[in-house]
């Protein structure tokens, strides 16, 4: 299993170097990357956005878009160099010998061609089958990738399929010409956790059955542990660590890998108060990098690191790592992590805050959307986006709201902010029902609840400076004089750990992590008592995620703010939440203390979510029995009768298909809506 020792590797990449010649300068995206991949091997390339992993993958196939170009290196597929090939030969290799699966299945499929036609034309071109043979094979392939009723499905169009189904079709397409290698670039990133688990399992099975090699590009270390045999970790266009999955996870050698693995909260075991975080942000690839690119963020950096760029070398006879410091950060700090804290010390706990009245209570909160009645249908359909949910949030606590897309969690958030008006039910904030507030009363409520958005870029007006963005709530609410506001803004930006020089920049000049800090500063501008964080870390890089989570946790402690944390990332939810509510199709199916739910999930859907979440530990992944739930999320406009989860539940009985279970108290720490929970 030692990499690079086999005689005839399937794919051998040598000193690959890819640059993008942009107007702003040369972006050195891939710098001297080398690795080998043998037949039947599953290799993962891990890295954050901008690490060059996708540019590297595109370089292999010569699919770089302008202004990218491969500067030097070799890419040998069974000894033939792909870089020197003519376009005609390359077209035979792409799709024929190397299949590809990309992130977004919707843009990879032709929207006006049926699935069958797309598969068939592909096979006629590459395998020279006649149309009938090709169609038969297409149906077989769909069955192989787990699409039921494949004959009928061949006539479907991409828009008729769910995201997971479309990704299966793409995999079928990649498989159709019996390639030797499949290149999958973030194939599950756009999918929900339960669907992601299905697709990963499918790719793994296919590679085992057919002996195909797999090159899997991802940012998710958990998926790597579940899936790969070999790993290359990329940072700033270089492979910084390269070896077998066991070596790499058990004894990571490069400080970047070591730090990354520690920033990810665990879904089992004790919860640390703070996550280990990597300071700073990834380097700007337009600037030439002196020495080691990670040196500025590295705990183990020595002066030599800034002068000399380390080469990959074998460490302790196991994996290769590019680091001058033997043992990486462990050499410096040992096994225990210092909890470095930013910002000021916590304020003394308010003695008076012993009141246990919740700051937020939802009672029978409901939001139905009616689709318009059309010419042919007299009555529109009702979508029960949020259906009679009840939750409460105590002062200074965090409530995690978990669920897949379409479960109603974002609609709930919009109602809490009164960006949307509930159909029925009450939203009680500090004892006042705000569901139907209007005018001045609504305005004064708005100071109490603020939100941190998922995508920190689209939540800022690109034409406004950071100063104006943070100041906007104060201006709109007409708070303070001009000088007061300026002081407040400076105070806020320091609170979130940024320097005041950023106030004069535009959002596009900031990195993702910095923008999310600004998003938090803006939410804090009105001194709210509740912050709603809607997937605040899902658009961020792994190394920056922990910074934002720690910041939120610190603010909760220092300012006594309560947080409603919406996410699909179970490990982060567990880390930050005191209580958790799991939502499925507009209903809460399990609700209780975070520890109890993660320790012993009662609802089959919660269990499925936990199984689906990969753990960044290959040994644990191997030992885990992974019981996946099949099928797709039903449409919220047409949910199954009885229990909404009955169509995917492994424990389903006849009763589940007729009656809907209600949320019932189980023990004193939680409520579950399932007939089988006991």
């Amino acid at each position: 299993m030692t990499p690079g020792t086999q005689m005839n590797p399937l794919l051998q990449v040598d000193q690959l170097r890819t640059y993008f010649h942009t107007r702003e300068g040369v972006v050195r995206a891939v710098n001297d990357v080398s690795f080998t991949l043998n037949s039947g091997e599953r290799m993962a390339v891990v890295g954050e956005s901008g690490s060059g992993k996708s540019a590297m993958a595109m370089s292999l196939l010569q699919l770089l878009s302008y202004p990218g170009s491969v500067e030097s290196g070799r890419v040998l597929l069974e000894g033939r160099d792909l870089l020197g090939m003519k376009e005609e030969e390359l077209n035979h290799v792409r799709g024929g010998e190397i299949g590809t699966v990309f992130q977004d299945p919707m843009t990879s499929l032709d929207p006006i061609m049926s699935i069958g036609d797309q598969l068939v034309s592909h096979m006629i071109r590459h395998l020279r089958l006649n149309p009938r043979q090709a169609r038969e094979r297409a149906a077989q392939l769909l069955t192989q990738v787990g699409i039921p009723d494949s004959e009928a499905r061949l006539r479907s169009y991409p828009y008729e399929l769910s995201g997971g189904m479309r990704q299966r079709v793409l995999i079928a397409m990649a498989l159709s010409c019996k390639p030797k290698l499949i290149l999958a670039d973030e194939p599950t990133t756009a999918l929900d956790v339960t669907i992601q688990a299905q697709i990963v399992e499918l790719l793994k099975d296919i590679s085992t059955e057919t002996g195909m090699a797999l090159l899997f590009i991802t940012h998710d270390l958990g998926l790597v542990a579940r899936f790969a045999q070999k790993v290359a970790v990329m940072y700033a266009g270089r492979i910084v660590e390269y070896g077998s999955v066991y070596d790499l996870f058990e004894r990571p050698q490069h400080p970047y890998t070591q730090s990354l693995l520690r920033t990810i909260p665990s879904i089992k075991g004790p919860r640390p108060k703070r996550l280990m975080q990597i300071g700073g942000f990834p380097p700007d690839m337009r600037q030439p990098i002196e020495g080691c690119a990670f040196a500025d963020r590295c705990l183990a950096a020595v002066p030599q690191c800034r002068l000399e760029a380390p080469e990959l070398e074998v460490k302790h006879g196991r994996q290769q790592a590019a680091c001058l410091v033997d043992g990486g950060i462990e050499a410096v700090i040992g096994q225990t992590m210092p909890l470095h804290r930013e910002g000021a010390e916590p304020l003394p706990q308010d003695e008076l805050r012993v009141e246990t009245r919740p700051v937020l209570e939802l009672q029978q909160l409901t939001r139905h959307f009616k689709t318009d009645a059309s010419l042919f249908k007299r009555e529109g359909r009702t979508v029960r986006a949020v259906d009679e949910i009840e939750l409460s949030l105590d002062p200074g606590q965090t409530l995690g709201l978990v669920g897949e897309s379409g479960c109603g969690k974002s609609t709930t958030a919009r109602m809490l902010l009164r960006l949307d008006t509930p159909t029925a039910g009450e939203i009680v904030v500090e004892g006042v029902d705000i569901a139907k507030l209007k005018g001045e009363a609504l305005k004064s409520f708005r100071r109490k609840v603020q939100m941190v958005f998922q995508d920190p870029y689209s939540s800022f007006n690109p034409k406004m400076k950071i100063r104006d963005i943070i100041m906007e709530p104060l201006q709109v609410m007409d708070i303070g004089t001009r000088e007061d506001r300026e002081l407040k803004v400076q105070d806020l930006i320091r609170t979130v750990g940024l320097d005041t020089v950023y106030l004069d920049r535009y959002p596009s000049q900031l990195s993702g992590g910095q923008r999310q800090r600004i998003g938090i500063a803006r939410a804090l501008a009105l001194d709210p008592s509740i912050i709603i964080a809607d997937e605040p870390t899902s658009a961020l890089d792994v190394s920056v995620r922990a910074q934002v989570i720690n910041l939120l946790a610190d603010l909760r402690e220092r300012l006594g703010i309560s947080i409603l944390f919406i996410s699909h990332d179970l490990s982060i939810v567990r880390h930050i939440s005191d209580k958790i509510a799991v939502m499925y199709l507009g209903k809460i199916v399990e609700y209780g203390s975070a520890d109890a739910i993660f320790e012993d999930p009662k609802h089959p859907y919660t269990q499925a979510l936990l199984y689906a979440a990969p753990v960044p530990d290959p040994v644990a992944e191997e030992k885990r029995t992974i019981r996946l739930i099949g099928g797709d999320l039903p449409s919220p406009s047409n949910p199954p009768p009885g229990c909404h989860f009955s169509t995917r539940c492994p424990m389903v009985t006849d009763r589940c298909k007729q009656d809907q279970p209600v949320l019932e108290q189980m023990a004193d720490t939680r409520k579950v809506a399932c007939f089988h929970a006991s």
Binding site: Y66, P67, R414, L417, L419, L442, K443, R446, R447, Q450, M451, F453, Q454, D455, S458, S459, F460, N461, P462, K463, M464, K465, E472, P473, V476, M477, Y506, R522, L526
Partner: protein, 298 residues
């Protein structure tokens, strides 16, 4: 009266530029090759038109039959017409009229487009349906025909021509602004502002218009080019600027009878129109490229 308008139109174009946060993009327009070519034609032509009254040109109205239909020479760079008037100074005076029409129409169209498009897109509902119904009605007439009809009602002359062309162009501007507003309305920063009780006026002034003004300016520069062409067409048909007041259109019309013996009377002003139209289009391409990196090619 013409001169006053020339100044007013310049002001109406530079106002939204000042409103825009940061003029960085204007600087990058100067660095953009296409935009720079366009500007380097447009700016001298504009200056020339504005400075006509103070420059030592021949009197555009003075007839002198002794030099009737003289071909281009140093004294008369564009030659003379049947009545012996200097075609160059008539063209320059006509240019002033044409550019005034172009920029005035663009300014009016931009203002109406911004106002109604923003209101319609932002509030939706009944107002939107009403505005859009009006837009659809106007758009179902060919714009030149609409302008001809309006001139027939109000009579020929400078103001009726401007109003007629603007009315034909406003619906398009409204529609563009409305679709831009609809796109931006759903962005998260609008929610973020609504979350702190921002009023509709605040949202429109601080968030919507600043984000739509740039593409609207691109459209306005094309509107200006088209308005100049439409004015020329109307004047050529005898429905626009009435002689002896020169406009590029009516100079061409007058010269049309003498194409055989004096080609310069129609051809040279025609080339000037071409030059302005091309430069305006280049400028708008330049603005678009600077604002939308996706439009850039190698």
């Amino acid at each position: 009266m013409r001169h006053r308008f020339a100044n007013l139109t310049l002001a109406s174009v530079s106002y939204p530029l000042r409103m825009m946060p940061g003029l960085g993009w204007l600087r990058s327009l100067l660095g953009n090759r296409i935009g720079l070519i366009g500007l380097s034609i447009l700016v001298p032509v504009l200056l020339l038109a504005v400075l006509v009254p103070v420059l030592p040109f021949a009197d555009p109205f003075k007839t002198n039959v002794s030099v009737s239909l003289n071909s281009p020479s140093l004294e008369h760079p564009f030659g003379t017409d049947k009545l012996g008037r200097d075609v160059f100074s008539r063209t320059m005076t006509g240019l002033q009229t044409s550019l005034s029409v172009g920029f005035l129409v663009a300014g009016i169209t931009l203002s109406f487009g911004l106002l109604f498009g923003t209101l319609s897109g932002f509030f939706g509902g009944k107002l939107d349906r009403l505005v859009m119904a009006g837009v659809d009605i106007f758009l179902s007439f060919p714009s030149l025909l609409l302008a001809i009809g309006l001139v027939a009602i109000f009579g020929a002359g400078f103001l009726p021509v401007v109003v007629a062309i603007a009315i034909a162009d406003i619906p398009r501007a409204i529609r563009l602004q409305r679709s831009l507003v609809l796109g931006i309305k759903s962005r998260a920063f609008i929610d973020a502002a609504r979350m702190v009780s921002a009023t509709p006026g605040w949202l429109m002034a601080r968030h919507l218009v600043p984000n739509t003004i740039a593409p609207m300016l691109v459209a306005a520069s094309i509107t200006a080019a088209n308005a100049i062409l439409t004015e020329a067409s109307l004047s050529f048909l005898g429905l626009g600027i009435t002689p002896p007041e020169p406009s590029l259109g009516n100079i061409i019309r007058e010269g049309q009878m003498y194409l055989q013996e004096a080609w310069w009377i129609s051809t040279l002003p025609g080339l000037v129109i071409l030059l302005i139209a091309i430069s305006l289009h280049l400028v708008s391409d330049g603005i678009r490229e600077v604002l939308d990196p996706r439009a850039r090619k190698s």
